[in-house]
Assembly symmetry: C2
Homo-oligomer: 151 residues x 2
DNA sequence: GTAATTTCTAAACCTAACTTTAGGTCAAGG
DNA sequence: CCTTGACCTAAAGTTAGGTTTAGAAATTAC
């Protein structure tokens, strides 16, 4: 434990609460980049604890790993991020979250209208807005409609 | 086309915009129950168009298929649902949606606090609330923390 | 110095929500 | 009657986000 050799993956796992396998997976997805010690083992900076914490928070917000990687790219690559750097990308994160909340709120308002009109099966119903479709849950292909109504 | 033999799966697919394979899949998940004609082919009621539309809307709201099945169980089984029946279960749907919006809104407020305090890596941060964890995206196991902090 | 931990890689497995494929049957039109 | 298109089942493939497993090598602990 010569002062500054960095954290081993197990230590990072304990610090973040993530599984070791998850951390390796995130590396494969380009979310974190450890260096290797002489024996080929991964070593992490203390700042990586914060980085992974950010990943976990962003996931709660519903971002996919590619989206998170994109947000993280807003951090400086040449130096350890400062608190201000984190604040900056947190603002980006907040924008994602706001958009998500707005979409859901709009859907709710549409539903309220539909509860009244009982139009639940009409393609012209606002709830069928293709822009909202297919994006909300994000797994596997979703096929959209583009058809003539008629009940 | 002897008046009332019901809809074939392809016709239902065209009316709803869903893929034929998806409709069969929903049947396997217990979301819809067609009867079979003499030749063994699925036949659907016109009310099933509305049923599937409801499924699609509920999906946009982020409900899983088991959850949707649960909500649909609120419909009367012995007769074709009336507009009022649909309104009733739409209210249930709205409750789900409200909860989702509230969770996200709370997360947003926490993030706003954290943008100010820069605590992004501390397990004691409100953003690490285990209740919100693991539930937001819903695929595969998520491991939570229950560890001693220390940075 | 040796035993017990950790870590390493690669590949297989898992869930959700579907789609695709393969091989065969049903139904409608001419 | 026969062809074409729709439908059938079962099984395998797909994506996201990981976990599990297996066998080997590196570290750490005593």
């Amino acid at each position: 434990m010569a002062a500054s050799e960095g954290l081993a993956i197990g230590a990072l796992a304990r610090r973040t609460g993530l599984a070791v396998s998850a951390i390796r997976y995130y590396e494969a997805q380009g979310l974190i980049s450890p260096w290797r010690n002489a024996g080929g083992q991964r070593r992490y900076q203390r700042a990586d604890i914060r980085r992974l914490s950010f990943v976990m928070i962003a996931q709660q917000f519903g971002l996919t790993l590619p989206e998170i990687r994109e947000v993280l790219s807003g951090l400086p690559g040449n130096r350890t991020p400062t608190p201000q750097d984190w604040k900056d990308i947190s603002v980006t994160l907040r924008a994602h979250l706001d958009q998500r909340i707005n979409t859901l709120t709009r859907l709710r308002d549409n539903l309220d209208g539909c509860i009244g009109c009982g139009c639940l099966s009409l393609p012209k119903c606002a709830l069928y807005n293709p822009d909202d479709r297919a994006k909300s849950h994000g797994s596997g292909p979703r096929y959209l409609m583009g058809d003539s109504p008629n009940t």
